[in-house]
């Protein structure tokens, strides 16, 4: 039980009772080299026997998985960003509400920014200077990103799990023990990234285990091994953070920024962090996730006050007028 046990920078495995734990392992997903091939989704399912997620065309560009779930522990996001983006970020849905013809509004603009009528002649839009995030872009961009459980330093799911099914492994990763989970479902609203989910016919909660069985034998997780362009990199978290810091510098002009790398963020930094090319919410990620456990002491205090108020109320009720 260290100082930052509930919140703040921490090496989670020793804090969770592992004496001379191995170095903390994690993922660095560099989305600038992701080609959206979904090998990670398939390799993960083949290794872990994850059931398929149904055959539904979602119309979210090439994403027919629709985000992480109990049956998709890796999920590749696709965002088609038209060449011309008006100054402020506007939601495609809002654009739809503004009554533009349906076909155009829903033109697979990937929810992130939308077009005013692209001027015809192949290269729409004027040639605007520079390409910083949210600044107008002169060419079409297709963002891809393999989303995964963040294996947070302070994991909301793990903290709230009442059966100890979710636990911190010696590698600092967060794993659901399928022989313990009774499907209480509490981890599901507790995850600030909306990762973990209950599998309908099975009842239990499922998510990425960072291939706990493989890394236990010194192997590489299935998705990291399969990833053709090494967008998914597995390794010691400190090494990955150093590598990512170098990488983000090189790609500054493309709007590159790291996400989940900072031990001082709202979850104490992620065990699986990312290099993104646009705002997190464009990929369906929360811009400023904070683990609820941070406010737990304050919450219990409030509950205590309310409890005292109750007791007082009852006392007053009975001891009040003798009648």
């Amino acid at each position: 039980m260290g100082a930052n046990s509930l919140y703040g920078p921490l090496d989670p495995a020793p804090d969770a009772g592992y004496v001379d734990a191995p170095p903390r392992m994690g993922f660095f997903t560099d989305t600038s080299v992701c080609i959206g091939c979904k090998a990670c989704e398939v390799a993960c399912k083949e290794w872990n026997g994850v059931p398929d997620d149904g055959f539904n065309l979602l119309g979210h560009s090439y994403d027919n998985t629709g985000g992480l779930s109990a049956n998709s522990w890796r999920a590749v996001a696709f965002i088609e960003q038209p060449a011309v983006v008006p100054a402020g970020p506007v939601d495609a849905l809002a654009e739809a509400a503004a009554g533009r013809s349906d076909a155009l509004a829903e033109a697979g603009c990937g929810g992130a920014g939308t077009t005013r009528e692209p001027e015809f002649l192949g290269m729409p839009g004027t040639d605007l200077p520079g390409r910083t995030p949210d600044a107008p872009r002169t060419d079409f961009r297709w963002l891809m990103m393999s989303n995964v459980c963040k294996h947070c330093t302070h994991a909301g799911c793990l903290d709230v799990c009442p059966t100890g099914a979710l636990f911190r492994t010696e590698f600092g990763t967060v794993v659901v023990q399928e022989d313990v989970c009774n499907g209480c479902g509490y981890c599901i609203p507790a995850c600030p990234y909306g990762v973990i989910d209950q599998r309908k016919d099975d009842g239990r909660a499922w998510k990425c285990t960072l291939c706990y069985d493989r890394i236990g034998d010194g192997l590489t997780p299935a998705c990291a091994q399969a990833c053709p362009t090494q967008s998914i990199q597995y390794g010691e978290l400190d090494e990955l953070r150093a590598r990512a810091a170098e990488r983000v510098e090189k790609l500054k002009d493309q709007g590159a920024r790291l996400y989940g790398h900072d031990p001082d963020d709202g979850v104490g930094g992620d065990g699986a962090f990312f290099l993104l090319l646009d705002e997190p919410e464009v990929y369906g990620l929360p811009p400023d996730p904070i683990v609820a456990t941070r406010d737990l002491p304050a919450m219990w205090k409030r509950a205590g006050l309310a409890g005292l108020a109750m007791a007082a109320a009852v006392a007053v009720s009975f001891l009040g007028g003798r009648r």
Binding site: V90, C191, R302, A303, A306, G307
Partner: protein
């Protein structure tokens, strides 16, 4: 895809409008448990108060209702589990970081105490030696239950608040008061229904105090959370919470004015119970609605980031 809700122009971006955090998967069993948990707590306190101030009707009604509500609670909790046959796994650990883990132990303790108290009610029917022994055990159980009741009533507020569901988490300062007030009102309701007018004064006062606490809490939750109050005021959650408010008002008025009439008291008791149920369902569904729309995750977080960057610049 055609009938996607036309979201009013909001200044945020999202991934095809899909949720960012995941709505809780609990069925309405859990909302029902919020009510029955509160009822059990309220009843137990009523029973203790009644016993302590010589009001046997309140005691008896309190004890029996507490046990009944407890059994109902246990059913709702186990039935909602993905794997009901593994309900005992709840006692595998005692985790301070998990309100549900703490709640399980609270509920177990309370269950034992309230159980003993309720059983003791049946002491007269049992053969003498056993009956005599039960009396004091029942009383001890009763008071122990009363002591744990506030924890039972308010831990569920911490449980909901300790999630990433935007409107639940934002309401953490007030939610315990809503649930505490609601539990008191429920208990009072039981008293108003079960006890003759002469014994029901404390129940009346309890109803008023409970209602006040619940209304204050609910009002704060529905108005002071900015965009995160929206889910509690719109759609079904809004209707439920408004119904809760009116029923509380009616119940309280009935409790105060209907001092003489057993029927009016019972009716106001029932209103208070109904109010508590409606409030619980309203809070439950309001939170879930806030998780289903990415707006409630992105906009507040963007504002928080902006403020922090602001402070950073000034600091």
């Amino acid at each position: 895809m055609k009938d996607r809700p036309m979201v009013p122009r909001a200044d945020f971006r999202s991934y095809y409008g899909r949720p960012i955090v995941r709505p809780a998967v609990w069925h309405h069993d859990i909302a029902a448990y919020l009510f029955t948990g509160g009822l059990a707590a309220g009843s137990a306190m009523l029973a203790a108060g009644g016993d302590a101030t010589g009001r046997p009707a309140l005691r008896r009604a309190g004890r029996v209702t507490a046990l009944g509500a407890l059994v109902a609670s246990t059913y709702f909790l186990v039935n909602d589990l993905g794997r009901p046959e593994r309900f005992h796994h709840m006692l595998r650990v005692a985790k301070p970081t998990s309100p549900m883990s703490m709640g399980t132990w609270i509920l177990s303790g309370f269950g034992a105490f309230a159980g003993a108290a309720a059983v003791a009610e049946a002491a007269p029917l049992l053969p003498r030696p056993l009956g005599r022994l039960l009396g004091p055990v029942g009383t001890a159980g009763q008071y122990a239950a009363a002591v744990t009741a506030p924890a039972l009533a308010t831990y569920t507020a911490v449980l909901l608040a300790d999630t990433a569901t935007p409107s639940w988490h934002a309401a953490y300062p007030e939610l315990p008061f809503v649930f505490a007030g609601s539990a008191l009102a429920s208990g009072a309701g039981v008293g108003l229904i079960a006890a003759p007018p002469r014994e029901s004064a404390p129940a009346r006062r309890m109803a008023v105090l409970g209602a006040a606490m619940e209304l204050y809490g609910a009002h704060r939750v529905e108005t002071s959370k900015g965009i995160l109050s929206e889910p509690y005021t719109q759609g079904r959650p809004g209707k439920l919470l408004r119904a809760g408010r009116t029923l509380t008002a009616l119940g309280t008025a009935g409790a105060l004015l209907g001092r003489r009439s057993r029927v009016v008291s019972a009716l106001s008791g029932a209103a208070l119970l109904a109010a508590s149920l409606a409030t619980r369902f309203g809070i439950f569904e309001g939170g879930i609605a806030s998780a289903e729309d990415p707006k409630y995750t992105v906009v507040p977080q963007r504002e928080r980031l902006a403020q922090r960057q602001q402070q950073h610049k000034q600091g």
